[in-house]
Assembly symmetry: C3
Homo-oligomer: 669 residues x 3
């Protein structure tokens, strides 16, 4: 157990620069009431701290840093490079991104830089360097925060040139590139690196989601993720050139599609992320995303942003109910967070985020429900002495998430436009969530041997080495669960010939001959050995057993009787292959079997509507117990007689938890 932080950071984005100075001291007083101990500053101040090409002005920033230092804040120091200053756009218009439609943008918005603009990079690096020079030795500067929510898209001339160089580095020869992208198709052969153009609406894009050549589009995403990562690394390295042990992050966005976060995490000292569920996002989905963010480095993470109450940019920006923010925060800690930070500490007076919730509302006082809830949580977090800090989450189940696969699957033209990667992953995650079985979200190159079960839904793209790694895992006794639309293509999106699921075929012991697509109004049913049936749809593999044993068979249509799910013994282990999208009950029937076979255990022996998650420190196992259901839940017997770190009381037999209620139970090891 280790962590960079000395306490649970509790606070968030703070932009005093947007306010008159006479308000600052009042803010300090109010924040103290809420036990706030951290502020993320300088997120969007480039225009202020560098008001022209050759002029820097840190006076105000100095004052802010002094004030926060005096108050003993942990300062999360942003580099401010996520929105271009006006003078730069005026003099160097090419710093602005060019969109998917091929239109270079003018001054406006944020996240607006082309990551391959030399001018942008020059000045971004210089700014990061100057900030580090000035502030990195301040002991209150706990963490550096580069830019903000990386994630735009650019298709400009500079990106085009950089893409060609990236491709040349990767493929070495034009021939190799033509082969990788199967450019003989539609006579798309390129003869020269200069024939390659970024895949957008003016070239190979089909609508805004599809593409004529997935190979090109996937490589562009890889290139672009790398391009933005290069910007991150450049600023990080500028800071480290001044302060070699600077601790550097940037805030990620969960299942955001644009960037390969597993690759990014390797370059980050800690993962931080922004959690903005909608009013109707399932709690299992939030939990999954936390686990994914934890999984990026397999370490505790920072919750860099959440709203104390309300969003502004969703369709319907529901208030968080009393207790909801608190319960959501404990869920965040439960899944591995070492910080709870808000966007933002004081609500903006103007601009498009002025209806985004904040610790201090427009009313300007501590006399609000939302503030009181923030203060209560702050007091609680302070009270249990940061004991959970750095503690680890444990899991016997690994669920593969892979950005290459995400891109490839969703670029695919056919068989069904309703097939969405995150939805499929979430359905599997949800099963374990409801059982309170811990899950690690893992990359394709994870050490599978740590897990009893590895789940790989819609593992469409099987890259080099994965076949061997998965086979080794199963051979040595592991249980692999995979599904329809797996094992189809290699890393360049070319099909594995010879029969689906290609490299997974041997270990799954099945051959998928055809894949039927069902329209939303169409369903099939599958029958299990126990005679029960379950609805299924979306896609139905028509498969043949090659050593595997059927677990369920289709009941309808011309493929009635064919297996809808199977298991296959392979070495000392087993591969489950689930051939269709089952609805919840059917899927549970299959996964129950795998869980039983693997001897995977839930956090507690009882079934319950409560979410129960554990973290473990060197001395203690922490049980986070939360009720996200609408009904009162009785505390499971196995959790009675334990001390709740929040209330300092012992749990009792028959104790009830209302909606949003939380317990944090300790168990000494």
């Amino acid at each position: 157990m280790s962590t960079h932080f000395k306490r649970i950071l509790y606070g968030g984005d703070y932009n005093p620069n947007q306010w008159p100075k006479d308000i600052w001291q009042g803010d300090m007083r109010i924040f103290k009431d809420a036990h706030i101990n951290t502020a993320t500053i300088n997120v969007f101040s480039w225009a202020k701290i560098q008001p022209s090409e050759h002029e820097y002005n840190f006076d105000e920033l100095d004052e802010i840093v002094d004030m926060l230092s005096k108050e003993n804040y942990d300062i999360v120091f942003a580099t401010s490079t996520a929105a271009l200053p006006g003078w730069m756009v005026r003099k160097y218009p090419e710093v602005m991104f060019t969109d998917y439609e091929g239109r270079q943008h003018k001054f406006g918005g944020r996240h607006n830089a082309c990551p391959n603009s030399f001018v942008f990079k020059h000045y971004a690096r210089e700014l990061a360097y100057k900030l580090a020079e000035r502030y990195a030795d301040n002991p209150h500067v706990t963490c550096w925060h580069v830019s903000n929510e990386y994630g735009n898209e650019c298709f400009c001339e500079n990106c085009q040139k950089a893409f060609r160089v990236w491709l040349k580095d990767k493929y070495k020869t034009i021939d190799a590139l033509n082969r990788a992208w199967n450019m003989e198709f539609w006579g798309h052969t390129v003869y020269d690196w200069d024939d390659v153009v970024p895949p957008n609406a003016l070239s190979d894009g089909i609508g805004s989601e599809k593409t004529a050549f997935a190979g090109i589009s996937i490589d562009y995403r890889r290139f672009y993720s790398d391009s933005q990562l290069a910007c991150f690394k450049m600023e990080r390295d500028a800071i480290r050139s001044v302060k070699p042990d600077a601790f550097v992050t940037t805030n990620l966005m969960g299942t955001f599609k644009g960037l390969d976060y597993f690759k990014w995490a390797k370059e980050m000292d800690v993962v931080s992320w922004d959690n903005y569920p909608s009013y109707d996002t399932p709690w299992s989905s939030i939990a999954m995303t936390h686990d994914l963010m934890r999984g990026l480095k397999d370490e505790p993470f920072m919750l860099m942003e959440q709203t104390p109450s309300q969003q502004n940019w969703q369709k319907y920006n529901s208030l968080k109910r009393p207790g909801q923010m608190r319960a959501q925060s404990y869920q965040t800690l439960a899944h591995g967070a070492d910080t709870i930070q808000f966007f933002q500490l004081r609500r903006s007076v103007g601009g498009c985020e002025k209806f985004h919730g904040a610790v201090i509302a427009h009313a300007g006082s501590e006399n609000t429900r939302v503030f009181r809830e923030v203060a209560q949580l702050g007091a609680e977090l302070e009270s249990f002495g940061d004991r959970t800090l750095g503690s680890r989450n444990e899991a016997e189940v690994g669920l593969i998430f892979d950005w290459d696969n995400y891109w490839a699957l969703e670029y695919t033209s056919g068989p069904s436009e309703d097939l969405k990667y995150v939805d499929q992953i979430h359905q599997y995650y949800q099963y374990f969530y409801k059982k309170n079985i811990g899950v690690d979200m893992i990359p394709v190159d994870a050490d599978f041997s740590k897990y009893k079960i590895v789940v790989a839904p819609v593992l469409y793209m099987v890259k080099d080495g994965m076949k061997e790694a998965l086979e080794n895992f199963v051979k040595n006794g592991g249980i692999l669960i995979t599904t329809f639309m797996s094992g189809i293509v290699g890393q360049s999106d070319n099909v594995y010939l010879g029969g689906y699921p290609g490299p997974l075929r041997e270990m799954a012991g099945v051959w998928v001959e055809e894949i039927d697509a069902l329209a939303p109004e169409q369903k099939n049913k599958a029958k299990f050995a126990d005679g029960s049936t379950a609805a299924c749809g979306l896609l139905c593999d028509l498969m043949h057993l090659e050593g595997a044993k059927a677990l369920a068979s289709y009941e309808e249509d011309f493929y009635a009787g064919m297996p809808a799910a199977s298991k296959n013994t392979y070495g000392k282990g087993t591969t489950y292959y689930i051939a269709t999208r089952f609805e919840e009950e059917g899927l549970a029937k299959i996964l129950d079997q795998a869980v039983q076979e693997a001897g995977v255990s839930s956090v507690i022996p009882e079934e319950t509507g409560l979410e129960v998650v554990t973290r473990v420190s060197d001395t203690t196992r922490f049980y986070f117990v939360m009720n996200f259901t609408d009904e009162e839940q009785i505390l499971p017997e196995s959790l009675t007689g334990k001390k709740d770190m929040i209330s300092q009381k012992m749990t009792e037999h028959g104790m009830k938890l209302k909606k949003w209620d939380v317990l944090l139970l300790e168990e000494h090891l």
Copy 2:
């Protein structure tokens, strides 16, 4: 009572230039059968009357004017500048507008000029001048009609430059501009007027409806409305330079969002507008729009366009049912019109409006249902001697409509994307409409003292001076009704800090702590003192009484028990604050109370399904009585024994009005 017109103008757009001359005399004969006495000419003839840069040709126009003069028509003379001639676009492509996507358009369409194009303005001015020179002394030229349906959008380089100048005039310093737009947010500070770019899809626009900086976007709308208004004034002044007492208008479009019509009306001699409801537009909505058009100058208006029967550009272009056009026309007169004009007198042979209804159909004769209905109405209007001309509408209720507020509210990101300005206004109007209570649609700078009740729904933006004006109104005994999403921002879209509803807080006696957004599938309920309940949704303020008295309280969710509507005594008056969007019955319960308290009376004492509206001349009160319901309605007793000016009969006890039936009763004063 005064009016510019000597008779009710009855006629409409007439384009004989699109037809061979041998048809003209036939038209004259047919129109006479319909009692048509006016023609709007020269609306889209620029290409013909100025066939090249230095050549004008008025021969045909002379003939048209002569013919109409001979027939004693009131000529509404358009200046023809709403569609650019081909030669101008060929030589000066910059005269064409540049759209929201930043694309300069090519020759095509109409309403296609950039209002900041010097070339366009030069030639438009010259044309207006030449037309005035030639025709303004003709006594039959009753009215000038500048351009047509102003309303495009342009984001070109010329507009950009003009915007910067407009801003400099308004803000004087860059600092003031940065403060007004809160440019510290997202580091958007500008250093130079040249850093400002129009807010469109390539800069600060978010989708086509939203914006990163409402301050910029609202100012751009103000600027653009002013730019087009400058074009109007330029042509108007060119005409007046020849004929100082020329009577000048342009046709407006009801609740069209793009232009601040209250500002425009100040420059117009009379308001005219085009009324094109859809098959499913509520009659209350049409009535409201008439009242808005009357309210622009608080004077009678011209109904410049309506279709005798069918539209062409709607999804489903339903025929007007027999009697519908007549009833709609009387409704128009009832709400303040002094003219009834059609688009158009003869239906086009080609072009995209060829399926738009007209007085003379493609059949070319007077032998059509539609013509007969036009002729009947013409005879009626002629028969009662224009007695209603110039008579005034009276109202004890003023309903605020404000374009700045319209823009600001709908640019807002959050709390709900379903919040639409005109819908909210209409719900309040509809209550009074159903009670036959007269309403004036008023600007924010109206003289409130004329009204017993002022209604200000979703008064999101409270500009300088409004707080004082509304407070004075209430202090002196007025009743103000306002709602959720009021008092939030000032004129630059920055929030009033200190607690909602900001400047309205004291007079409303409430503090709104939070605003919940409900998705369409979500509802709350409110309970009234009498124990009844009413559904509500969309937005729910969570408010605290600060002197006000609750009228209803939420029944559900965590804010059950908090007030959902309140009233507050302030000085001699009262402020009602309605904290959520009630469905019809709930809203009526509150408004009934306000109406009773204010002593506002309906036009007649009885409740009825009929629409009953009055206009008053020096000697007579006119009752317009119309049945827009599907059921027969019995004439209310208070309207019996009065003379119907149309049939010249006395109304009798128990008399029934079928759908579309109309009475126009006179009552001598």
Copy 3:
């Protein structure tokens, strides 16, 4: 009876160039098992066979041709010009098309050439010439296939210039053009050919479907169809310059809107087309499209492409059920095909069509359901000796389909946006389809005298000569069935003045005074002489009989009692005018009457759920009998005692056909 082919071609697109050579011989063996005898090659190989501006390389193509020749394939030789080679786009970017938004595209996709690019045309011509030079004398080259699925859109500068030239050829003078397009409307007059710009989103387009000036837009479609046709003819003529009797086609796409296929067919030696129904396309719609493709030349056609099982680009790419592909293929033959070809013979390894079905799946073997079905059909087709080849379809009913009308009707603004040309045509076709009455899909300049009934639904545009032709047909005893929205405009989209249905008025004996548009939630009803009623909607003509006799009258709304359908004796014949869109039963009631009056007979006397279609050779009448319903169908008595050419058995009384079952019965003449 005549046909170019010596056997039913059975095979399809084959791209060995996309595969390593070691696979080729295996393919040959597998295809032989499926009785495949034809391959379409070189469809997208330009990049390979012309790797630079001045270099051709036919080595691999030689090998492919040699291999197929050795195996005695009928080679369908594509010219490969449907996708531009990279080197050409790099050097001459103007070869790429410019889209409706005015954006010139970059290298990417296919169907990407501007048809008015001189560079493209130069090299396309040269390529076709060189291919012909090298391969046209090969006796196995049965057919040339120019380009592929013509159909993009281009609005570039070169197209603009060519459009102006095309217009000058057509109209001679600017005055004539201004009159044709009614340019006086909205003052749109052009003074010079250079004032004309292509109608797209930047000029006269309104959204993506409508236009301010239908006259311009229709002419642009004509011009563009001609431009692409010129490319086809250019390549065809290059081939013929080498091999005068070369047999040349290109693959069409059914009711594809962009090209006037009747005009194209005149230039093609045989029509070929690609049939890709969706999972929910009605079988009557597929049948109609086959009949349209046959009707283009009134000759048997090639089915150039269908999928053996699955599509990839539809929303839900359902598998073809066992027997479905076979039944669909027999339906294709029944309606006039002389070939059955698949896209494609081997499924792609990469690119956006990799999930498109093929004869050889990714599994790579003949051991698949799909392959077995392909092989079974191949064996069957081979077995009955190509006896159906060249046989003719016969019909007593002609159904007019006209691309000018298609364009004009759908560009029309009003009366209802739900009015779609193909839907309306299909409703009429479906009636005959369900009765097993043969229908020819005919152009407006067909020889109507061949038919007892001519059906002309929504014959909106009546071009010069059509009035006379239709009148002659009816005068001489023919029965014409026409409908609402007919006879409205002439060939330049200007209205026939004097009363609808203009030129059809006299023969229909009706005058349509008004056209009501009903929203989807609105319906009317019509009552027939027998007292029955039928629902109708969409559009309702309000018409007066001028000699015609009412067949049904509206039941509701203010036009209750007015005729909803009529018949009129004209000369020796009759015109039926159907004034509204009836639902199926109502329409059948009217058409039953016309069929009875005309003495039109079904293929068999019985009513049946089976599709029964005949083709006739010099010696034999073939009955294609297919069950596309979900229920078993009993073979009609009149079809018993006939020999089934497939099974070689005699049909028996009471015989049942299951879903997808097919009989091919012979009857000697």
